[in-house]
Symmetry: C2
Subunit: 309 residues, 2 copies
Amino acid sequence: MPVLVVGSVALDTVETPFGRATDTLGGSAIFFSAAASVFCPVRLVGVVGADYPLEKLGFLEARGVDLGGVVRADGESFRWSGVYSYDLNSRETRETRLGVFADFRPRVPKAFRDAELVFLGNIDPGLQLEVLEQVDTPRLVGCDTMNYWIERRRDVLLELLARVDILFVNDAEARQLAGDYNLLRAARWIHERGPRFVVVKKGEHGAVLIARDWIFFAPGYPLEEVFDPTGAGDAFAGGFLGHLAWVGSCEPDDLRRAMIYGSAMGSYAVERFSVDRFRDLDANEVAERVREFREMTAFEVRLAAEPHV
Amino acid sequence: MPVLVVGSVALDTVETPFGRATDTLGGSAIFFSAAASVFCPVRLVGVVGADYPLEKLGFLEARGVDLGGVVRADGESFRWSGVYSYDLNSRETRETRLGVFADFRPRVPKAFRDAELVFLGNIDPGLQLEVLEQVDTPRLVGCDTMNYWIERRRDVLLELLARVDILFVNDAEARQLAGDYNLLRAARWIHERGPRFVVVKKGEHGAVLIARDWIFFAPGYPLEEVFDPTGAGDAFAGGFLGHLAWVGSCEPDDLRRAMIYGSAMGSYAVERFSVDRFRDLDANEVAERVREFREMTAFEVRLAAEPHV
């Protein structure tokens, strides 16, 4: 089952304590696609400028990412440039040049419109809505957003949320959106606006899925070297929805596993610059990491001994 | 099997966004004992001043906390006073009055010396060593410490670590001790100094146990109301070692479960001021929360479907 994704297709310039990469493949739709395409076909909707090296997306096409929804427009590609702190826990944006992205109006090709799984990457919620309106009968809609839209486009964002099944946000965004410091209460607030599932991403601390009547935690995969955190959240969403597309089901057990696949793909994203770690990644390698996650979280409840009190 | 604990026995004055509590029961040894005594007998070594309301520890004695190692000295009891921020994620110490704690030299009563499980609460590492030297043949030694000792008593702390099996620290302390931002590498550094197990506590994000060849994550229990974070770390250690004492074993499976019991007891600590939540807590209630932890972390690896790549 294919996943439809809309989001940014960018050229990133990233500086970390370990080095610098200039004009590398970036953007939410690219990180999502790189991760999801390990598991399922992906249909990508986005825009690039005249200067975008589309041939560099060949490895994604080879893995079943259909670029039929990527429009090449006159002008410069979207560029983002940022510097990470020594501990990689904070970053400063040096420059955001929207380029052709400033006038982007997503158009979903006819052949893409029967998609059942949809991921709305972090772009203007108005555009996210436009995409949804072009999809026939989406079964499961995932959506990302950020502080910028929460502050400036709150009304449209709330209109969108009413049609979203899974909201992917980080902890600060969940708190800001709901105006509540407590994550659990913030998730309840979001549930009331539409999304049945809130996935709160917490960086190295992992992620938590809060459903209306159950909760699931996925730890962050412990790495001795974190190289470049850019794109981890989108790779998480790619692993999550990629897993659901792969199994063709979204029962609670599938969603729980999807959290682990998400966390695994987020961990690969940070091991190298850009989407480099995904180039040769195959599903068996991911399955091995998923088994490691199980080792790191599984325990048996023991009721044999007599309690002291 | 009993656990021996040495640590502070204090009177805490705590202000949170939800209220203020004056001169309530506090200190590492008290929080540890309140949690551990749900599962096993506890032997407490500490000091209180002439003004300490020992009768208020009656509920602990009733649950098998032997206060035979608590000395009453001339002078004032150890007092700590602090204020938490609105989000409870940071706190400011208003006052620390050591009182009789300034001249404390722990003496382990003869009847306590055959203890096999020992917890060295967060006090001067020199005193922690003195306690260890008075215990006949400890099988498993857990130890807590803090930035103050890491900075000022590094040599003695390292001497102590060589005799410790499990070091309980928070993430900032692990990083500071090892001088490495990466937690996994920091834990490897600590392993080389003695402790086979490093338990890194991360507040609301849970805790991770890093052994030499395996890792286990326990999430933080999601609470809609966090009332007072004081003592959560000591309650964690109490639940952890209390569970091991209860089952009388410290195999990897027991340690994994101990992490969950620790996280559960940490979550109870923050639900009320002081040790109030532990007063009526029984092992069945804890077992129910442990089952909830299992619900929140268990997933099945699925290998039925054919991977896409």
